[in-house]
């Protein structure tokens, strides 16, 4: 018996580190729950070669779009937890559960956050010829005559951003959903709606040309490309820290050592200057960091958006 225990302990002790050290033992599939060439997909395809080099294994980017990213997410939640199948998804991971009730997985438990790779910042914009020079003026004007806020679609990060803005500022604004960020920016250009939380890339040239006016960055720090625009923190909205992030997840039950290895290797790729130079033109701010930090962030955001969906009466 004693022998058996020793053997078992030895085997166990041997097996665990071996698993992490051997990782990855075959080709790794990174599932992208979006169509090819969306910005999540492009990011993953740029990142894959760096991991391939590090791991000496093929890293395959596999698109499983549909259901507002939920199909690919559900797929990975049911995958074998050996680290060979990973998910790279956006903050839709935390916003979608707040409006879609019947998901075939539990976003709190079925997937483990590994690392937050980067984010895109949002900025509140109004038409370039509108009279509002500051956010304060806009909020005050909305109380005189109610305004419309555009979103890139129900349940998108921009939608939650606008709802949160309305709750925190007390502005008299009603949200109108468009199909995608493009039409939402057009609605600002054509004065059909009054305010929109746009990603910098969609608004960029129009800000430069003076067609739209940025009023506030939806975050607590200013952004390099628009250094004159105040941050939400400066204007007294510390909770309007809203970013569309991108993160890597694994199915629950994956060996913690494998998770740690993936975290370390992705962080290493994110620090590679060549990689930084390729993705920064796409408006990505790279994050990286520990998995603990990302786990906490995902958990807090799930709670935050659910509370907002309940408070703002967003239908389920």
């Amino acid at each position: 018996m004693k022998k058996f225990i020793t053997a078992a302990v030895a085997a166990l002790g041997f097996a665990l580190p071996a698993m992490a050290a051997d990782y990855p033992s075959g080709p790794v599939t990174i599932v992208i729950p979006y169509s090819p060439s969306g910005n999540t997909d492009v990011f993953a395809r740029h990142l894959a070669p760096y991991l391939e080099e590090k791991w000496g294994q093929a890293v395959v980017v596999d698109n499983k779009p549909g259901g507002g990213s939920m199909i690919g997410t559900a797929y990975v939640s049911q995958a074998k937890p050996d680290g060979q199948t990973l998910l790279m998804t956006s903050s839709a991971f935390v916003t979608a559960p707040a409006i879609q009730k019947e998901l075939p997985f539990d976003s709190r438990t079925d997937l483990v956050p590994i690392v937050n790779v980067g984010h895109v910042s949002f900025v509140l914009i109004v038409n370039g010829e509108s009279p509002y020079q500051t956010l304060e003026e806009f909020v005050a004007a909305s109380k005189e005559s109610p305004k419309f806020a555009a979103t890139a679609g129900l349940g998108t990060t921009t939608h939650f951003a606008m709802e949160k803005f309305i709750v925190d500022s007390g502005a008299d604004v009603e949200v109108v959903h468009f199909k995608g960020g493009g039409p939402a920016v057009v609605s600002i250009l054509s004065n059909e709606t009054d305010i929109y939380g746009s990603s910098i890339s969609s608004a960029g040239k129009n800000i430069e040309a003076g067609k739209v006016r940025p009023l506030m960055v939806l975050g607590n720090e200013r952004i390099d490309v628009i250094p004159d625009v105040p941050s939400a923190g400066e204007l007294g909205y510390p909770d309007l820290e809203i970013k569309q992030w991108l993160g890597v997840f694994a199915p629950k039950g994956t060996d913690p050592e494998i998770l740690a290895k993936i975290n370390a290797d992705v962080n290493e790729a994110l620090a590679n200057q060549e990689f930084i130079d390729t993705v920064t033109p796409l408006d990505w701010t790279l994050n990286g960091g520990t998995s603990e930090a990302f786990v906490t962030q995902v958990d807090e955001e799930l709670t935050k958006w659910q509370a907002l969906a309940d408070a703002a009466g967003i239908k389920k």
Partner: protein, 515 residues
Amino acid sequence: MEFLGNIGLGFSVALSFTNIFYCFLGALLGTLVGVIPGLGVLAAISMLFPLTFHLEPTTALIMLAGIWYGTTYGGSTASILLNLPGTPANAVTCLDGFPMARQGRGGVALFMTTVASFFGASFGIILLTLFTPVIAEYALRFGSAEYFALMLMGLVAASTISEGSAIKGLAMMVLGIIIGLVGMDSQTATARFTFGSLGLLEGVSLIALAMGVFGVAEIIMSVRRVKATDIDPDSVRLKAIKPTRDDVRRSWMPMLRGSTMGSFFGTLPGTGPSIAAFLSYAVEKRLSKTPERFGKGAIEGIMAPEAANNSADQTAFIPTLSLGVPGSATMALMLGALMIHGIAPGPTLISDEPELFWGLIMSFWVGNVILLILNIPLIGVWVRMLTIPYNLLYPSVLMFICIGAYTASFSPLNVWMVFAFGALGYAMRIFRFPGAPLLLGFVLGPLMEEHFRRAMLLGRGDFMTFFDRPISAVIMALTGLILLWSVWGSEGVRQRRTDRASSARADQDPTKKSI
């Protein structure tokens, strides 16, 4: 003078060896992707997208654009020969193109649609060259109310799109609208007709519907036909592509009207080539003195939509490049190709990147000439496809349908939907329900709903919003006139139809053999 300078600059960029090569590559790939049923431009561009990381931004865009308009050129081929839309924008070309092929006029149809495509594209490019900034400004005047009014006009104008029983046509249109509503409601996130399926939340894809109802149904129908040799062998010779004088005479105005409509819809973000093609078909039928010929191989029925979808392809670049706003998923991809090189399209693009802008536009001429040269000799090859026995041709076509349906959204569910719609299409054939209104309802219905609800929200629930806004009011008034005209005119049409009945019967005789 500045204008000539711009054009010169554009050609100097477009005519560089590298750019001509990539333009050719794009056009060739586009044609192939277009010819293969169901394999859409979005899938093709997505697959080649990583290649653009390593190209100059202008060259990358020239190639992607070549694929984009090349598919619409090639897309009519499968529509005409196999009743299978090569791309959604070519779906309407099936309605008269396939009957033409069955009458042994496939070569003529292919040749004439190539001409129509070139004509429409040229029309679009000229507009693009002359008026980009102006058009971009006017497109901004179209809000949700205007879009709704336009769609309503389209639906009213198209209400006579089908032959035969009006009730059956109406029923199919409603069914089309219902199928169009499948998925997540855009204003409340309520799932409609999804039966708990996550996959259906995205809605039904036009390509699955069109391939099923037209293509798969056609294949099932043909099971009883054994050989392909009932096609007149003369009709597949190259000389058989020569249109008759009557064909040419009938084609001018539809091409011109199609190009105008196509250019217009192309500039509006969110409408694009498919809607342009559908509506121009509807308009031709409405304007025709002999609407009963439509659906039976009327050349107007292929010329107008093919001119429309190709001109829309070109003018779709106006909002994309000058507002930085992509009108469709494919255009969003092209923007992505630019952004990866650090170029953000927008109002300042023309002045910031004149080489890119003018080079791209002038490359459209290069690409369209290449397509013309490429497509005419290929007609002989494609038409020969009809001589392949069905038992060999159709299984391979079915395989391509599956590949196409799958790659349209990388989802196996789409493949099942194609077969479900195939069964529906077969049942529709047996009970003589028309397919065209189904597609029209499917395309226009959800768009109307989306814009109607948004317009009502923005108008704070007041119906007058459709009449207070000048552009919307004009379109609504036109819609009313069309409605009155059809009520008042239907008596006259009925009269004319009985007059023609005897002569039409005589006309049919020579074609009977080949059917």
